[in-house]
């Protein structure tokens, strides 16, 4: 088999997920023999045109120009991977979808008349995606598993269930039971419950778990005395375009 040609693209994002790629460079070097990274503007100066075998896309789609570009990217890649919360669900910037653009833009930009933003979405609003790699940023171990899986032609095991499961396996004291609103029960795992393991409540940066029961969870938040406005904010933070989360935001926002 010829070495698969891999391309890494950036849309509206902070670059943190690509940084994770650079962070695993030492490990990547071991695989580098097996893959050819031919397009990676953030990591190298010489970049080749497509077609590519695998495209890793970081970032959300926020304007007409990006909609066109992601379609071209899709057409040039045999396998397309959404890399991180922005590419999966629009990420933190998608929280702006819930405010009128004409109110928001003047607050941030001086020449807001020149902007042509669309609502902020993950890439699969516009193109079919073969694999979602969740997280803000993506988890290095998961990233490596996905790369290995692509090379082997197998599907990497990415935990689709709640963060609580991983949290309990690490024997953390439950924050929720102590009265701290933690999104773990409805959030997708795979991060090793890194936030609760360090005493911080989960913010669901990886979006909803595969069977998230948000109605029942919100009921518990209310029993805890969390105000509606804060509930809306919690669900708006990283993945508000995900359907189960969007439902909560529109109910309480």
């Amino acid at each position: 088999m010829a070495k698969p040609k891999v391309a890494i693209f950036k849309f509206a994002s902070c670059g943190g997920c690509q940084l994770q790629l650079l962070n695993i460079e030492d490990k990547l070097l071991d695989i580098i023999g097996a893959i050819d990274i031919v397009y990676f503007p953030m990591g190298k100066s010489e970049n080749l045109e497509g077609p590519y075998d695998v495209g890793l896309v970081e970032g959300a789609i926020t304007c007409a120009e990006e909609i066109e570009r992601i379609k071209k990217v899709r057409a040039s890649c045999r396998i397309l991977v959404a890399l991180g919360a922005c590419a999966c669900y629009g990420g933190i910037q998608s929280s702006r979808n819930w405010m009128p653009q004409r109110e928001l833009e003047p607050k941030v930009y001086e020449h807001w008349e020149a902007l042509s933003s669309t609502k902020c979405f993950g890439i699969d609003e516009y193109v079919p995606v073969d694999l979602h790699l969740h997280g803000c940023p993506v988890d290095r171990e998961e990233l490596l598993e996905v790369i290995k899986g692509l090379l082997m032609g197998t599907r990497a095991y990415l935990r689709p269930h709640s963060v609580c499961m991983e949290c309990k396996l690490r024997e953390n004291e439950c924050l929720f039971l102590k009265g701290i609103p933690c999104m773990g029960p409805v959030a997708r795992a795979g991060c090793g419950a890194v936030c609760p393991s360090n005493g911080a409540p989960c913010s669901a940066c990886r979006g909803p778990a595969n069977d998230a029961n948000v109605e029942s969870f919100v009921e518990s938040l209310k029993e805890m005395g969390i105000p509606d406005e804060q509930i809306a904010r919690m669900f708006r933070r990283d993945a508000s375009t995900a359907k189960p989360f969007a439902k909560v935001v529109s109910m309480y926002g």
Partner: protein, 334 residues
């Protein structure tokens, strides 16, 4: 055969065991307790987050390593056997149930080896825990069998009862004094008193027959709306034994390891098969599976209830989904 151990000498028990075993003991973690291989033993703990089964069936373990090119497989075995000090009677009974699963008709060599070479120091409960209902299944507060040594807290000392030859030779090695009949009597009374003050109970009378008629019941749908399918109840349960198996390759894609991790029947993907088919897509079917497996199917398969009433599932469940309450509802509010 009974002896006494001054409380100040507990450390010596652990040190002595540590020569031959990896010694799991309850230690404080914030306001909770966990079984750990290090730390000061907190013998008056109420319960632990993960059950001590983790010493014999680790949450994650490598079963074997392999090389793809040569088909070479190497089994991974422990260097040192495990000992558990301070296991409560309910969790001890849970090990007995796991023995039925893993050392009966189908032998799991990993579990079997650890159990056969393991050492178990149990401790009776003289103070009922908040969520437990062990008396329902005769699983506590006093231990009956399955230990090498059994402790009962007598205030300034422990009564030490011997349950095996291995236990006896260990006591000889420690050189413990014999217990008086008053000590033995006092321990018995303390455990009986604890049993009397247990507030929670599942009425098991005719339960199996009843549950067979409750396979279809509206309460399962009510639980569907409430349960978060977070899977936490399975993870903390001392009698859950399902695991997932994944292969993990190294970066060269030649060498790898086969790893098993605890699984959970509350998770959507648990009963998923090839091409996305799923035998328990509905959450109600999954929560019913957990409850009926413990209280009905386990009885059908092994002749005993598969719950020991440790109370962890309800204690740690954010929605406070409780087997005691479920059985009451299914009985019709009795």
């Amino acid at each position: 055969m009974a002896f006494v151990l001054p409380k100040s000498e507990l450390r010596r028990v652990i040190d002595e065991l540590s020569k031959d075993y990896r010694v799991f003991r309850p230690v404080a973690k914030g306001s909770e307790f966990v079984f750990d291989e290090e730390g000061e033993p907190a013998m008056d703990y109420d319960t632990t987050i993960l059950p001590p089964k983790k010493a014999f069936l680790p949450p994650e373990e490598t079963m074997f390593t392999f090389k793809r090119e040569t088909f070479h497989v190497e089994e991974v075995t422990d260097e040192k056997p495990v000992a558990v000090v301070g296991i409560h009677p309910c969790d001890l009974r849970a090990l007995h149930l796991l023995d039925k699963v893993f050392t009966g008709e189908f032998v799991d060599p990993y579990y079997m080896r650890r159990r056969q070479s393991g050492f178990v120091v149990a401790i009776n409960c003289v103070k009922p825990c908040e969520h437990g209902f062990c008396t329902s299944f005769d699983a506590g507060p006093g231990a009956k069998e399955g230990y090498d040594l059994l402790l009962t807290d007598l205030g300034d000392k422990y009564l030490v009862e011997v349950g095996s030859d291995r236990g006896k030779s260990f006591v000889d090695r420690l050189g413990l004094d014999s217990a008086s009949s008053a000590d033995v009597e006092k321990a018995k009374e303390l455990v009986e008193e604890a049993a009397r003050s247990m507030a929670r109970r599942i009425d098991t009378h005719g339960l199996v027959e009843l549950l067979r008629m409750r396979i279809e019941h509206q309460h399962w749908a009510e639980l569907e709306a409430r349960c978060l399918s977070c899977g936490l109840c399975n993870v903390v349960c001392p009698t859950c034994y399902c695991y997932n198996v994944v292969d993990k390759l190294d970066l060269g894609l030649n060498e790898g390891a086969r790893i098993r991790t605890w699984d959970s029947c509350l998770l959507l993907e648990f009963a998923e098969v090839a091409l996305g088919g799923n035998f328990r897509r509905e959450r109600s079917a999954r929560i019913r599976q957990r409850i009926l497996h413990k209280l009905l199917h386990f009885v059908d398969q092994y002749g005993e209830f598969g719950c020991v009433g440790c109370g962890r599932c309800v204690k740690y469940c954010i929605k406070k989904i409780d087997p005691v309450e479920i059985v009451e509802v299914l009985r019709g509010g009795a």
